[in-house]
Symmetry: C2
Subunit: 176 residues, 2 copies
Amino acid sequence: MRVLKYAILGLLNRHPMTGYDISKEFDRDLMNFWHAKHSQIYPELKRLTEEGLIKYEVQISGEVLEKKVYSITKEGITDLAQWLLIAEELEPTPKDVFRLRMYFSENMNQNQLKALIKDQYEKRFAKYQFLKQRLDEYSHEPLIGSVEFGDYMVLLSAIMRENAYLDWLKICLSKL
Amino acid sequence: MRVLKYAILGLLNRHPMTGYDISKEFDRDLMNFWHAKHSQIYPELKRLTEEGLIKYEVQISGEVLEKKVYSITKEGITDLAQWLLIAEELEPTPKDVFRLRMYFSENMNQNQLKALIKDQYEKRFAKYQFLKQRLDEYSHEPLIGSVEFGDYMVLLSAIMRENAYLDWLKICLSKL
DNA sequence: ACCCTCATGTAACTTGTTACATGATTGA
DNA sequence: TCAATCATGTAACAAGTTACATGAGGGT
């Protein structure tokens, strides 16, 4: 399926950037639904270049440092546009180690279970607050069609997801 | 981290079963937070046996057919019990291809976007209903400490997750 | 007879992580 | 001058998927 390919094409379709920039994007906004380390990104950029979907220009930063600024080609744009419209089957439910532990909770005593759930709650709550703050930075809801619309909607979905997780953890705690 | 190892240990800790049985479990209840194909399960069972965490007895089914019924060892139980109590850092957010498409929605027109979201809504709703039905089969909420408690809570979390996803999709549609 | 489920495995490949490796730029 | 960040890559490994391969059991 090569999803990383399309994540990169989508980013380069917004504006040209370096592998390093792409890596930073994965650590910020995209973090809420996709991720890749630089060790995966650089080989993929090489491959996409060979496939003619992207190209790069070398820029000199400072005196010597060369950086490759990648941009999407016509072929890349076409490929991306086609991929975006595919209505696939639902993916298998994402894996979740914490839920796995809960599933086997019969092997813990109540204090252990409580400590585990509380710890998870605190960590999730911190994440929720962090995301909420990001959303609050928008002065108004972006319009459909704008680049910001996607950013905003996906951030909103991340917040709703965390909120549902917190609700569930609260119910778990109430049973103890 | 070897999570598959602990998923298998947790299942065998409930009662002995074959690799095929484990595979079936992954297709049912565990589906909501973990999954593995038989091609991954059989090698892992072999490895766990070598490590002394599980063992098996060969049973004859019918006339000839041999099946390996695995059970957990004392060492396996200890290992599992220790692992369950680990309060790890939050995992990176699960990957989600649909959200990735939404993030790049600036490349679609409104009709295309609407069709994509509606399709996703229908598929998610069917899944939600399926899970809800499973939950309704419980005549009463299982008590903490029971094996069913874990099953029930994790099913509930899956329903709440799908519900949050549906709410988000409804908001997406309302913006169009 | 035929088909579905039970039952167990391996091989090749893709995807993703951790560690190794190097060096320039910028601001305090 | 020192540390954080910018910048690019490779190697070894772990995890997961798809395809290959085989055959028995049970019900119609």
